[in-house]
Point group: C2
Chain length 326, copies 2
């Protein structure tokens, strides 16, 4: 296998010049550059990326942590993040943290061990103290980790309000409201608070059902739906994340309820799942591609030593009407 | 920051001994090992993983290529592969190839550049000649790349036969059969051939609709369904991959057809999508976790220099009855 000194010899330049060109660490004249490239081609020389990374103290790899990609919200987020990272010259290492309790900690440690240049965390599981210890580029999706760590999230208060207004518009008076676990600090609580406020203002009855922490799988959603229907069910409106809203609607349909005549459904997230069910779900859409773009921008800014202009990015949500509201 | 020589000095051993221990490249007595570990703790020493990898000529990273994880089949496959790789001590670099035409080539090149130790390819896009050039650990999911490259797939012939028998059992006589693109060489063609054979043997009419190459998105499936329903639609049975079968069923429901009374549906893959629709889809289930496990096993065997006992692994499929067949 050809080595760097073989390339230098053939191109009739010094080893340092070849090294400068490969690492982009100094000026190399265009003419010299062409000679080196020709020599590399002729010798079929492949630079050892590991050695180059060691020199540059970067790997070009970003770790992205999500609970799992079988959840459509995270699947779409990961697809978008990977594309944006690719365009910015980075590769994505993906960690699904749902399966192993210590995986999150291990990936954070990879920042220290120079295996990844940065972390985008969409996980709500670890004690935030661990994040504070790591003085490296990190961006959080929808969670407050530390004052120093930028957060990307949507305007959940608006989302909660839009959902409430849509159900009120349909004259719903008795709402089942599934909300996220209050065990973690996250911007998403605003969605539920605002939803409740709107309903209270209009003297509308709501029943809040708090979901367990970090359970995002279909099996859990089915258990929740079973529990709900084992009690007298007299709701005329339901607000929940996409998958849970769908499981709940399907059970209602199986029990002979007509949607939206007897019950209206508004879901949250607006992933592709809301479009594969019949009737199509009315949903509050998070701009997932936008969240990914902002997360990548805030992270690459940190890596390249640019001070981010804003620590926190908040994007708007939209209502997409399906056929589960009247 | 502490360096390796500081650790050696504090532990009162040679630098070479510390290096041997970190790299696992030679014998280090238990007593010495403990002294070194204590010194590392006291000095808060973090080994530079890049340097260690350079020495060991491995990175512990596996590239996994799929079209995109917004497709539930690949989402479930990626979740399982990541978990199995994690258990085997590897990290997963994920490449979604749908967005960039040259991404597949670039990731193959990363094998040469010592950035990844192996590749699992679930992509059907690149000229297979490129794979033949790379004499490194590769495993293919459901595709023939080269005699030397192991393939993991299911017994598609059985799957096609099971689907046909289920529709025949429901007395379907006029079947719409969506099949994958014949532009690539893949084991999946056997599914369609066997399905057609079974139908012909029973003198059952089928209409084959060949899907475009590498189009796995919902927008395309909706276009296909629109095209199909713009023609006179007199089918009493449909066979297609999960997502397409669902889009087709939803359109039938919207047009007033009763499922399964008027039309029966059997889908292929058995991803979670088949369980989020009402009525639940009858489906041929690919053992996705098993495919992932075999892919990881065949790959790690290659990396560790073990000759695989079998080049090709074929797993069985099962019929899961939903409520879209009678």
């Amino acid at each position: 296998m050809a080595r760097i000194k073989d390339v230098a010899q053939r191109a009739q330049v010094g080893v340092g010049t070849v090294s400068r060109m490969l690492n982009g660490s100094g000026y190399v004249a265009e003419e010299t550059r062409e000679k080196i490239e020709q020599a590399m081609r002729e010798l079929n020389y492949t630079p050892n990326e590991l050695a180059r990374n060691l020199y540059r103290k970067r790997t070009g790899i970003i770790a992205v942590m999500v609970p799992n990609v079988s959840n459509p919200f995270f699947a779409e987020f990961v697809d978008c993040v990977e594309e944006d990272l690719y365009d910015a010259g980075y590769k994505m290492m993906l960690c699904n943290t749902a399966k192993a309790h210590n995986a999150e900690l291990e990936y954070l440690d990879m920042l220290n061990r120079h295996i990844v240049d940065g972390v985008i965390s969409g996980v709500h599981s670890l004690d935030i103290a661990e994040y504070r210890k790591v003085q490296k580029p990190i961006v959080a999706l929808d969670r407050y980790l530390d004052e120093e760590i930028p957060v990307v999230a949507v305007d959940h208060a608006s989302g909660g309000r839009m959902a409430a207004e849509e159900l009120l518009r349909c004259s719903c008076r008795n709402i089942l409201h599934f909300c996220g676990s209050t065990a973690v600090e996250s911007p998403y609580h605003q969605r539920h608070q605002e939803f409740e406020k709107c309903m209270a203002r209009r003297h509308c009855r709501t029943t809040m059902y708090e979901l367990e922490w970090n359970r995002l799988d279909s099996q859990y959603y089915q258990e929740v739906v079973e529990a709900v229907f084992s009690q007298p069910f007299d709701y005329d409106g339901v607000f929940a994340v996409d998958w849970l809203a769908i499981e709940c609607m399907n059970e209602a349909l199986r029990r002979g309820y007509k949607v939206p005549r007897d019950i209206c459904f508004v879901s949250y997230d607006g992933t592709f799942l809301t479009n594969v069910v019949e009737p199509r779900m009315t949903t509050i859409v998070q701009p997932i591609a936008g969240l990914a773009k902002e997360a990548v921008r805030l992270l690459t800014d940190q890596i390249q030593g640019r001070k981010p202009q804003n620590k926190s990015v908040v994007l708007g949500v939209t209502l997409r009407k399906g056929h589960t509201t009247r």
